[in-house]
């Protein structure tokens, strides 16, 4: 446990000083600009539009970072041979990988906090009123990014960086659309397609459930039971995926 925290601490310092943090700053400036422009074009509900744009940009940037960082996490370490230096110390491969993921997820967390605070700030500035759902939507967006990060790490272990990025994006898109796909009449009518969608719903992450933005913008409330169910789903799915990734990494040839 101690060695995991050591790895996460120095991973965070390394990423904090890299250009990733500068990109968060630029994203924040971009977010202010875009939400301002979007709210100017919105008729009647500028605050809602600003919040919608703000949370959307926060989610997209978190996905971008998660996919980019996750896909290059281990390949970069192997290329630079830093992985060899660290794994030659008394630390297991599992502790190293978890430490890396914790260190990198703290960067995603900072991104989520900075951008969602900014989005909420603009929303309130434009006349919106605070709703606790904004917090939950931001937190779930961070969870979603964390899951995408682990998916990207998983693909980086079994393929190259470029393919890992592509596969992660594909899973991201499917994870968001599978829930709604099951509802279309073609899927309901076609037994084979219906079966495939059902399997997909079990194996692939249901990212749609983690997206609370629609509740924030349109419904302004969400059932607590639904929140708890989604949280449980997230923790179970993430744990299972992480265990699977650790098993692959443990047995991987680091040539």
């Amino acid at each position: 446990m101690k060695t995991t925290l050591v790895v996460s601490k120095f991973t965070f310092i390394e990423v904090y000083r890299s250009k990733v943090m500068t990109s968060i700053l630029f994203l924040a400036l971009g977010l202010i600009l875009i939400t301002y422009i979007a709210s100017e074009f919105a008729y009647g509900a500028p605050a809602k539009i600003a919040l919608d744009f703000g949370l959307g940009i926060m989610t997209l940037s978190s996905f971008g970072m998660a996919i980019f960082i996750g896909s290059t996490l281990l390949t970069k370490e192997v290329e630079q041979r830093t992985l060899y230096m660290i794994l030659s110390k008394p630390i297991s491969r599992g502790s190293f990988l978890i430490g890396k993921i914790i260190g990198l997820s703290s960067v995603l967390f900072i991104n989520a906090i900075v951008l969602s605070s900014l989005a909420a700030g603009i929303y309130i500035f434009l006349g919106g009123s605070w709703n606790n759902l904004i917090f939950w939507a931001s937190l779930f967006s961070f969870f979603e990014a964390l899951l995408v990060l682990i998916i990207a790490v998983f693909f980086s272990l079994i393929t190259n960086t470029a393919m890992s990025v592509i596969y992660s994006i594909v899973i991201l898109v499917i994870g968001h659309s599978l829930n709604e796909t099951a509802k279309i009449s073609f899927a309901k009518m076609n037994p084979f397609f219906n079966y495939v969608v059902k399997i997909g719903n079990v194996v692939l992450p249901n990212l749609y459930k983690l997206n609370l933005k629609d509740f924030v913008i349109y419904q302004q409330s969400v059932d607590t039971v639904y929140l708890v169910k989604v949280l449980v789903y997230f923790f179970l799915y993430t744990t299972a995926l992480l265990l699977f990734v650790l098993q692959i990494f443990k047995n991987k040839n680091l040539d």
Binding site: I13, S18, Q80, R81, S88, K89, L254
Partner: protein, 286 residues
């Protein structure tokens, strides 16, 4: 201390390509207190074998056995080993000090002791002045020195170094070789790979030589040289104010020397004609 038993490893880079055998039944051992040079041309299989030793890569067949003196669990063994990979490109956004703190913390060294060790070794490796700079501003030699400190800061029992002298300037090479000799005199076993024969000849007692994944020679450098020497001696002496060199055969050595002594000739030196390790290696390869 470490035994390699019939290690084989093959690579196939593409499904349709033929398998490439990187290591073929390699068997040798590293004993306690030795300073062993691991020789071989680029691509001979040195790094692959070291990666197998460090458990980064798995062999197709064969076994690596560690002596109980190094420990029984994986973490105990790792604590007893100091490792430096070839061309390490360290964490560029950390400072040198942070990197050493990172390495030391993973080895479980306490904060106060770590600070002291960093100070001692950075002075010894002449890098103390740059410790608070970020590593991306370091030259290759400086990164090599920093990596070297990180590999020995926890006082390992054995050092495994992959091409530690490559990329260093002549002064840096001399410093590194001196430190390796000192560490070995202090009882640390050292196993280092190199493709530069004179470096190995200069500081090692034992050499392991592999070529195209096969073990060619394991043993002491002296016995390899003597085995490949002829029975000729070179005698230097002064005659008529000139230095004369004469090559004589073993069988005539005593007679020739007695003659010179009887004639009260000033004999400067007598040396057995022996080839350099590099010449022997070339001969074996040919």
């Amino acid at each position: 201390m470490i035994q390699f038993q019939e290690i084989s490893k093959s690579f196939r880079y593409n499904f349709w390509e033929k398998e490439f055998k990187a290591l073929d039944n390699v068997t040798f051992s590293i004993n306690e207190g030795e300073l062993v040079g691991f020789l071989g041309a680029n691509g001979a299989g040195k790094t692959t074998l070291i990666k197998i030793l460090m458990d980064f890569s798995r062999q197709d067949s064969g076994k690596v056995t560690f002596s109980k003196k190094l420990g029984e669990t994986s973490n105990q063994i790792k604590s007893a080993i100091g490792y430096l990979p070839e061309k390490a490109y360290l964490y560029q956004y950390l400072t040198g000090r942070e990197f050493l703190e990172y390495s030391g913390s993973l080895n479980g060294i306490k904060k106060g002791e770590l600070k002291n060790l960093i100070s001692i070794w950075s002075e010894r490796m002449q890098i103390a002045y740059a410790l608070d700079r970020r590593i991306h501003g370091y030259s290759k030699g400086m990164q090599q020195r920093l990596g070297f400190i990180s590999s020995l800061i926890h006082k390992p029992k054995i050092l495994i170094l992959d091409e530690p002298l490559s990329g260093l300037d002549p002064l840096g090479r001399r410093d590194f070789k001196n430190i390796l000799k000192e560490l070995n005199n202090d009882g640390i076993t050292i196993f280092f790979s190199s493709h530069i024969v004179p470096d190995v000849e200069e500081i090692c007692q034992k050499v392991i030589f592999i070529e195209k994944g096969k073990l060619i020679y394991e043993g002491s450098i002296d016995s390899l040289i003597l085995k490949n020497s002829n029975d000729l001696y070179k005698v230097n002496y002064i005659e008529d104010n000139k230095i004369i060199s004469k090559i004589i055969h073993e069988s005539e050595k005593l007679e020739f020397l007695s003659k010179l002594i009887n004639e009260k000739v000033n004999v400067l030196e007598i040396e057995k004609e022996k080839p350099r390790l590099e010449e022997i290696i070339y001969k074996i390869k040919a």
